[in-house]
Symmetry: C2
Subunit: 149 residues, 2 copies
DNA sequence: TATCTTAATGAAAGTCAATCTCAATCAATT
DNA sequence: AATTGATTGAGATTGACTTTCATTAAGATA
């Protein structure tokens, strides 16, 4: 699915205004970076990336602060929590999906399953629970790693 | 479901022997504690508990090491990963279940849904992925917290 | 455009869960 | 009882993440 970056940034700017927050270069830089990143990422990875740039640098604090902000905005999500690492992904323009995580090689496989989503909603109704978001991680061994042994 | 503690401990002892590990007092103490604990827990909670005992103390290192061991043995599971906290539960004798987590009050609701489990297995077959364990966390607001506002 | 207000930023210190190190201790085999 | 090797505890260390606070920049106002 194609995402219009300008449209996204406009929405983000409106979001910031609504919250009386400022449209800063760092924030726009990070949304640019993430929109073009194209893979799962960890925050420290971004920290290193922006620290290695010669032109405009963004500090670790700002990266962490902006990641939290972009999560609230809804552009990124924590998708895997394993050991003491958090793996994020940029979700704009992607349908909701869950993940298979290979504990051997670390590969992450995304899958979409509408039935599982519906059953979850059903469960929430049953408990009168209002869901905001969820995370389903299936840990196991991928076919390639199983072949290797 | 009732669990036979002695039977569990015997299995654990066999498990240790198979791995050339020793049956130590600390390990048996911790399995005792957890079997009678009766609620979700964090490791630091146990560390404090065993540190406050006057009779036999167990160090932080040993608690963490034993928690990892009991996870491999299959007696406990990481069920919630939120912020930088890990919440565990003792799963012996309980059917597999997933969790609704209230982000307001922290309440944890367990639910069993066989259909979701089956669909997950189906997805794994589709990707030729061998599942070892999984974690489904649904974050949202429970009915009580919704009433309060 | 210059001025002003207030939010954002960076650098460094701080926090906290979890792991590691290594000398001393204990389990269990002989 | 002696031997071997795993386990333990205390404290240091790591690593992700947050906080602090002085400085800087956004953007509203005149």
């Amino acid at each position: 699915m194609k995402v219009n970056l300008n449209q996204l940034k406009d929405e983000f700017k409106r979001y910031l205004k609504r919250r009386n927050m400022k449209i800063t270069q760092s924030r726009l830089d990070l949304i640019d970076l993430l929109a073009s990143y194209g893979r799962h990422f960890e925050v420290e990875e971004l920290v290193n990336w922006v620290a290695s740039r010669t032109d405009r640098r963004v500090s670790r604090s700002t990266v962490y602060r902006t990641i939290k902000l972009l999560q609230e905005f809804g552009a990124i999500k924590e998708v895997i929590k394993q050991n003491n690492r958090t793996i994020y992904e940029f979700v704009v323009g992607k349908p909701h999906h869950d993940h298979l995580v290979c504990v051997e090689c670390g590969k992450i496989i995304e899958f979409v399953n509408e039935d599982i989503e519906n059953l979850q909603d059903e469960v929430c109704r049953e408990y009168d629970f209002e869901p905001m978001n969820h995370r389903l991680e299936i840990f196991g061994i991928c076919s390639e790693c199983r072949k290797q042994t």
